[in-house]
Amino acid sequence: YRHSSQYRHWSYTVGHLREKRIETNLKAVKLIQAKLQKFIDEQGDNISQSELQTLKSKAVPLTMEEELKLVNFYTKKVQVIGKHLNLPTEVIATSITFFRRFYLEESVMKYDPKELVHTTIFLACKAENYFIGVDSFAKKAKSTKDEILKYEFKLLESLKFTLLNHHPYKPLHGFFLDIQQMLYGKVDLKYMGKMYDKCRRKITEALLTDAVYHFTPPQITLAVLIDEDELLVTRYLQMKFGKPEETVEETGTEIVTPAKENAQKEKQEVKQEVKQEVKQEGEKSEQNGKPEDHPNTEKEEEGAETKQEEEEEEAEVPDGKDENTIELDKLMEQIMACKEMIASMSVVSTQDAKLIYAKNYYCQYPDIV
C-alpha cells in the first residue's frame, strides 16, 4: 500500500489537508479579486456607486469552508448520478474519489463543479474498465459530448495521473472471510451476510468524508465494521492482533475455535519434533566418536540449541496468526478516530449550496450583478 500512488500522493495529515485547501482557495481568491478589479477598472465611470456597492457585497470570493461545502454537495450528486446510471459500486467510488481529489488541487471558483460531475464519472468508467462510449454516456447523462470531454485532460492532470484506487470494499470481503476463520463456529453466518451488505453501503458514505485522506482502506473498513458490531469486531481484533494473555483476560474465556485447536495441536507437535531432533543430535554425536571429531561441535550444539529456541519461539507465535507486527491498542485508536471522523460528516443542505453557488456565480459574472 505504501508503494501505491494512493498512499504516496493522496494521504495527508489533518493539518496538511487543511493547508492544502486554504492554499487552493487563496490562489483562486487572488484570481477572482484581480478579475473583479479589472472589471471595475474597465467600467470606468459607467458604474455607479450603488452598483459598485452591490458588486462588492454580492461578488465576494468564497472562503475555503464554503468551497468545501459546495464540493461535498456536488460529490453527493456524483454518487446519485452514478447510481442513476446503474454503475457498479467501485466505479461510483472511483468517481467520488476523483471528484474530491480534483477539488483539492483546483477551486470551484475556477472550475464549476457542475461541469466536472459528468467528466469525472466518465473518466472513472474508463479507469475501472467499465468503458461507455462518450455518445451513449452523454445521452444517458443528458449532457453533451463536448461538455464531457472538455475537462477530461485537466481532470487527469489534476489527479496527478494516478488512476488506480484501493477502495475499502475488497478489505471488507477479506475481513468477512478472516472473521469467519478466527471466530470459526462462533459467528452466525446469516448475520454476517447482513452485516456485509450494510457495511458496503456505509463504506460508500465514508468515501464522502476526509477519512479517505487520513486512514488506509482497511482501517476505514474496520471503522465501519466496528460501528456495525463493536463486540464482534473487538473480539476478532483481540484474537488477531492481541497478545495471547490479553485475549484470555479480556474475554474471560479464551475462544478456542477448531482452527485454534488444530493450531495448538500442531504447536505441541512442533515442540515435540524439535525436542526429538535435538535429542537425536545429542545421541548421534555420542555414537560417532568423541566431540573433537566434529569441529565446531560447540557451535553445532549451540546451533541446535538456538535452532530449538527459535523453533520454540516460532511455536509460541499464537496459532491461526502469523508474525504479528501490529499493536492492537494503536490500531484500535486509529479505528475509533476514523469511526468518529466518518460519523462527523455533515450533510450540506440544498439551500446552503444554492447561496454559495450564487456567490460563486456573481464572482464569475460580475456584469450580471
Partner: protein, 47 residues
Amino acid sequence: DVEKRYSINPDHYNDPFIKDLESNREYLASGFRTDYVYDRVLTEAFM
C-alpha cells in the same frame, strides 16, 4: 512484510458470493480459482 498477516482457509469460509462459482463450468473452464479471489481480498485487507 514478508509475513502475510493471514492464512487462507477455504473450509472455514461460508462465502455464497464465491462458493457457487467453484462449480460453475464456465468459470472452471476459464481457469477461475477461488484461492486467487481469497488471496486478493485478504491482501487488500491486511496491506
